[in-house]
Amino acid sequence: MDLSRRDFIKTAAAAAALAAAAGGKFAETAEAAPDTSGLKWGKAPCRFCGTGCGVLVGVKDGKIVATKGDPKAPVNKGLNCIKGYFLSKVLNGKDRLTKPLIRKGGKMIEASWDEALDLIAAKFRESIDRNGPDSVAIYGSGQWTVFEGYAAAKLFKGGIGTNNIEPNARLCMASAVTGFMTTFASDEPMGCYDDLDVGDTYFLWGANMAECHPVLFSRLIENRLKNPEVKIIDFGTRHTRTSQMADQYIKFTPQTDLALLNGIAHIIVRDKLYDENFINQHAVFKKGKTNIGYGLEDKFKFADDPKPITFDEYKEFLKTYTPEYVSGLSGVPVRTIEEVARLYADKERKVNSLWTMGFNQHVRGTWANNLVYNIHLLTGKICKPGENPMSLTGQPSACGTTREVGTFTHRLPADMVVTNPEHREKAAKIWGIDPKKIPDKPTYSATEMFRALDRGDIKVVWVQVTNPFQSLPNLSRYRKGARKGDGRFVIVSDIYPTRSTELADVILPSASWVEKEGVFGNAERRTQQWFKMVDPPGEARNDLWQTIELAKRLGYGSLFPYKYVEKEMWEEYRLFNAGQGKDLAPYEAYTKARGLRWPVVNGKETLYRYAEGHDPYVKPGEGIKFYKNKKDDGKAVIWARPYEPAAEAPDRQYPFWLCTGRVLEHWHTGTMTGRVPELKRAYGAAVCEIHPEDAKKLGVKQGEKVKVSSRRGSIVLTADLRGRGKAEKGNVFVAFFDENKLINELCIDAYCPISGEPDFKKCAVKLEKA
């Protein structure tokens, strides 16, 4: 590149940053300036987290040579987080998979697509013939495009005739789903990211937004800069970069969030700080089963039994949760609990609650979600601009694909379920199949699916766009199960070698991100489309194509009769959503817009669900209407859900809590970010964050090795006493991105009985100097 071109690019780069930072006339100037860089720009949502930032991708001579924050994208307004740098390289790693590989004599041998797909089809047929359709399965992810997820659901539920389809979102968002469904009878939030700009009080519950949702956290911080009244309160079990930036950090003992939430409700009720009119008009009270177990046994089953209760009975239930009792459990001072409750109830304040995996990866994850909604329903701080509870997501299409398309064993698109005959009927009609084809019983949640593979009840599993043999809890069992032989056959589609491809019988090379056309849906109900911009390397192919090719070989090609696959599939898919409060726009609309938040009715998106003047389903004069909850007359449910302990808590033998999670530089299991050598150096190997006093007792110094052991496994890690994240006393934290340090071998595979989501945040470990 010559000097004048470099200068030109530097000027363009500075102009882009100026436009994003200053807005106004700068933005107009930058947009009006002709682009003489010789690049062709296309829009796409970012490949990484669930925030759904807009990225403009610059292509020259068939290669991506530049990216920039999309100034027209309302989510990020022209700016990306540090992960924007990774986009330059995630598609271009040297070890990118480019040919199908088949295991022969213990070695992975290159094969043609026909050979690989014929083999896969033969294995599917053989297993279905011998063991029935429930012996084959597909396991995808919140990184599936809507099309990929839809095709998989249609083939498995509507073609093969099994509900053996699950996404890794079961490991991250399932409790949010069951929380929404049990409280509002409809999945996904009422509010949107605009709440970050216009509220004034933000409670973060175990969410390290500064590292995991940096662009959204920036919006919060900008709001606080403009408005000194803004308060950010960080409830956590670990002091993070977010805690540093918050106005208040409140540490609590793991699992006691349930008690704290009930304690806050106790004070609101005790001191009559609730909004009685709102409650009378918009809420009912219920209780469910208690002592509901932990899903530790294979084939664990649970069905809740909701019973209506009165407000007085709810008040009675709350009596246990005095500030003193809650303080004893949680370690949070009584005064702080009182202050927090008053802040939540302050009529002058616009209050928001934000959470991610702290609530969701929880053996009572559904309850934690219910309990935070309780507070917003008691105080009437919901469905209003700047006043909402919001569950953030970790993957780019956990919402758009897994939740909206319904790629779970029990689900169908648009919140429908396989157990409901009318829902099966509707799905069958749209799919053009006999309703009897869709089985009426769910089979396995994600953990149970891999237990079934281990037992041999599932023989053939196809993994797409995810890395379960690094990300499942109690990992050793499931890794061993995959290679037990006896007819088991594992197919993994991915873009790089992973800890899952190493266990595969067939590896298929996939296209990623802008190497294919796609749609993702983010955490604020925003549906975003992009076109294919570059070719995938070698023989890599779209997962959508791969699934349809299997369908053809199994005799279900007629389920996919499309010419322009994506567009026609979209128009079919949105038939499920029309008229259900989940309406989607025609495909064309998304090709132009920077995403639209559903329901989209008459071309208009919806910022606030259930709110008159925003949501077209709410009639004039209704104000707020939770119209999806028909069985409770359009009211939301305030749940009496108690505190119950974790599945495994520290004891004499294993005296520490282990919490796992993410760090800024690496995304999930690191299969993409781990390909960027500089990131490996920046945060090369997973470390064990330990409190300095605990380390001193163990005789461990900064940088020394420590052996971490649970009842399920052991791992040696470097001790980190002064990293960005700081463990509280009695707690350790380890990130799960490191493929060489499989921390999930230590995690317990206990899960929330209602959501099926495992608790990666709490198990007991011991530490020894190594």
Partner: protein, 82 residues
Amino acid sequence: MPISSVVISCRPGKIDVIESRLKGLPQLEIHHRLENGCLIAVLETETVDAEVSLFNEIMQTDGVFDVRLAYHHFEDLQELQT
């Protein structure tokens, strides 16, 4: 050599100190200083590796509370790989 631009958000009253400190970094040019407490900088380094390191260094500078990436150009990187 990749080129990128970033927006650096400074805590109130800190922009002068931050600007003078960052001006000492050889691979970084400050292009604009905004009234809202933001600095616009262009990073020009040998590798993406160095860009990410520099980004992290800026982030850890006292008084900086946020750094965001606006533009990333890596044409030369592609030329090297092909």
